[in-house]
């Protein structure tokens, strides 16, 4: 199993009334799967994605990613886990605005300490696999939303992570760009065996995934 969640709960105490974002969730994700977490807004799909990615800590339960218990890790250890095992694709792309497309992809390899020649070659290959090799010198502000999301995916896969997490990846894209993006993810999943977990309420995204897990009020239904 790439991901194994047991009895995971997450409660927010932001206001006077506690909000139970996740309630005793059990969830497993096998290698090579592409699963979509589906459900209406507030169902807990993004929270579960963030808990699995180590961006949020569960109030209770156990989360194991590639054999590592995530809930006991320190902030620095979580950073290393995200750097080496998980690739993130965010709704808002979240590229570094002062770096070019190639530099954005290279950045994560630099964090890993990969030498210059290798990271340059791997980054160019990643951009090529996303079909945007010709945009390598453009900065995020000079690219469309779809192009930026492709760069974000290239950045997420360039480290060859065991798990790719995508939070509402199509939220800011039009239909044709979304389709192109989903085909890219599908080819990554099918041809390269990348395990993908997507949080979405977009039916088109759900249509591409191999399995769908529905959440409602913080529980798997």
């Amino acid at each position: 199993m790439v991901v194994e969640c047991r009895n995971v709960s997450r409660t927010y105490d932001d206001d006077t009334v506690p909000v139970h974002a996740l309630q005793g969730v059990d969830f497993q994700l096998g290698a090579g799967e592409w699963v979509s977490l589906a459900g209406p807004s507030g169902s807990g799909k993004s929270t579960l994605l963030h808990v699995i990615g180590g961006l949020d800590q569960p109030t209770d339960g156990s989360v194991v990613v590639d054999g590592v218990e995530v809930t006991t890790l320190t902030a620095a250890e979580l950073s290393d886990l995200r750097l080496n095992k998980i690739g993130f694709v965010f709704q808002a792309y979240n590229l570094i605005p002062v770096l070019s497309a190639l530099e954005n992809v290279e950045f994560i390899l630099q964090l890993q300490g990969v030498d210059r020649a290798e990271r340059r070659s791997r980054s160019q290959q990643a951009l090529q696999s996303m079909g945007i090799a010709d945009l390598e010198n453009r900065r995020p502000g000079e690219m469309s939303g779809g192009q930026q999301q492709r760069v974000a995916i290239a950045r997420a896969i360039v480290t060859e992570p065991v798990l790719l997490l995508a939070d509402e990846p199509s939220a800011n894209l039009d239909t044709s760009t979304t389709r192109e993006l989903l085909e890219v993810l599908q080819s990554l999943n099918r041809e390269r065996g990348v395990t993908i977990l997507t949080a979405t309420h977009d039916p088109m995204v759900m249509g591409y995934t191999t399995r769908q897990v529905n959440l409602r009020d913080g529980s798997v239904v």
Binding site: L55, A75, R82, F88, I96, V98
Partner: protein, 402 residues
């Protein structure tokens, strides 16, 4: 996180907010230039006070009889054996033995109390007398029984070159000596007080008048600021029962002012740069808050918290380093215009009371520039920790949600 990556990101981020950072850079550069220029003034003042104190017959150190300072007179003189000066350290520029005793000088019209100084003119290149402008003739040697009078004293006595003055002082036997001396020349000194205080004659001639073969002091001038302890101990060992006294002990007021101005430099620096640091912190906090989402994303994709701190610190240090370099360059450029000296003749009397010359020469000390650069960078590193801490205190997810 590799240093190269840190520098690359920081450099790009600096260019991201050009106008804001340009204003900040200007503020740093102007503050640094201001502090450095004030430093050159203070260092110039310090050096002037020190040179004046050392040059007014004091030297860097004096060998004298311990009680001479409390009660100067020829009875507290000492004999100088030949060869005492052998094996002096290489940094000794020169030395001069003298008799310096209180005396009364009388002209036909006026009487004044003065310091009568017997000198070997050839040795006085170490004191102001060596460079002093003389109207008339200089003393020809230690046997010259004529006198050199300061211009202001000559004016007070209503006398001039070629005329005679009567000097009254006490001889080695304790009895009064009185003799007439012809004025060889009238000297001018940069410090007005010297012209009023000192009257010079040949050392041997004065010894004959006082009926002694002793001197009251040996003044030593070195290349440097202070005699080191081993030199002082070595000199003290050659003269039994005599003291070796540094210029700081002989000219306590000047030494204290030199010390105070040295400390003032640092106080001024801390005040100006301290104020500037608040501006830097404010700018950095703004920059960090604006980029909170981006910093959260960096952490989300695997950047360690300490790398985020390092990025903010490197960024602020880079701004400070550029600002400091520009400021020091500006200070050097402005300094070039005043390096030859600033004419303060209009304030001559006031300056003289501080032991300063009427032409004020600023001193650009490279050690001060280095110190300012190092302290500024240290301050910027300290200042950037607050915004950096704010950046990592917020969890990546919270930052991404903003």
């Amino acid at each position: 996180m590799p240093a190269r990556l840190l520098l690359q990101l920081s450099w790009r981020n600096i260019w991201r907010h050009r106008r804001r950072n340009a204003i900040l850079l200007c503020a740093i550069a102007v503050a640094v230039a201001g502090v450095m220029l004030l430093n050159t003034m203070m260092r110039g003042m310090q050096e002037d006070m020190m040179n004046t104190a050392i040059g007014n017959l004091t030297g860097h150190a004096k060998i004298l009889e311990p009680s001479y300072l409390d009660d100067p007179g020829i009875e507290r003189g000492f004999a100088v054996d030949d060869g005492w000066q052998d094996d002096l350290p290489n940094n000794v520029l020169g030395w001069a033995s003298r008799i310096r005793i209180p005396a009364v000088v009388m002209s036909e019209r006026e009487t004044r109390g003065i310091q009568l100084v017997g000198v070997d003119p050839a040795k006085e290149s170490i004191s102001f007398l060596g460079d002093a402008e003389v109207e008339g003739e200089r003393l020809s040697g230690p046997d010259d029984a004529r006198i050199l009078v300061g211009a202001l004293l000559a004016e007070a006595l209503d006398t001039a070159t070629g005329r005679r003055l009567v000097l009254v002082t006490q001889g080695a036997d304790g009895r009064t000596r009185e003799a007439g001396f012809r004025i060889a020349g009238v000297y001018r000194a940069e410090i007005a007080g010297l012209e009023r205080a000192f009257l010079f004659t040949g050392l041997s001639a004065l010894q004959r008048l006082l009926d002694t073969d002793k001197v009251t002091e040996i003044s030593i001038r070195i290349d440097g600021e202070d005699l080191d302890t081993s030199t002082i101990e070595g000199l003290a060992g050659r003269f039994e029962n005599l003291a070796v006294v540094s210029w700081r002990q002989l000219e306590r007021q000047a030494a204290a002012m030199v010390e105070v101005s040295g400390v003032s430099i640092y106080i001024l620096f801390v005040i100006v740069m301290g104020a500037l640091v608040f501006g830097l912190v404010n700018t950095l906090v703004t920059a960090v808050m604006e980029r909170l989402r981006e910093l959260g994303m960096l952490r989300a994709i695997g950047m360690r918290p300490r790398a985020v701190v390092a990025q903010v610190v490197v960024e602020s240090s880079a701004i400070m380093a550029i600002g400091v370099a520009a400021g020091l360059a500006l200070a050097r450029a402005v300094f070039a215009f005043v390096a030859d000296g600033i004419d303060l003749t209009a304030f001559d009397d006031s300056l003289a009371s501080f032991g300063m010359r009427p032409t004020f020469v600023p001193v650009f000390d490279i050690r001060d520039a280095v110190l300012i650069a190092v302290l500024s960078l240290a301050l910027s590193v300290l200042a950037s920790f607050y915004p950096a801490r704010r950046a990592v205190k917020i969890k990546p997810l919270e930052a991404l949600r903003r």
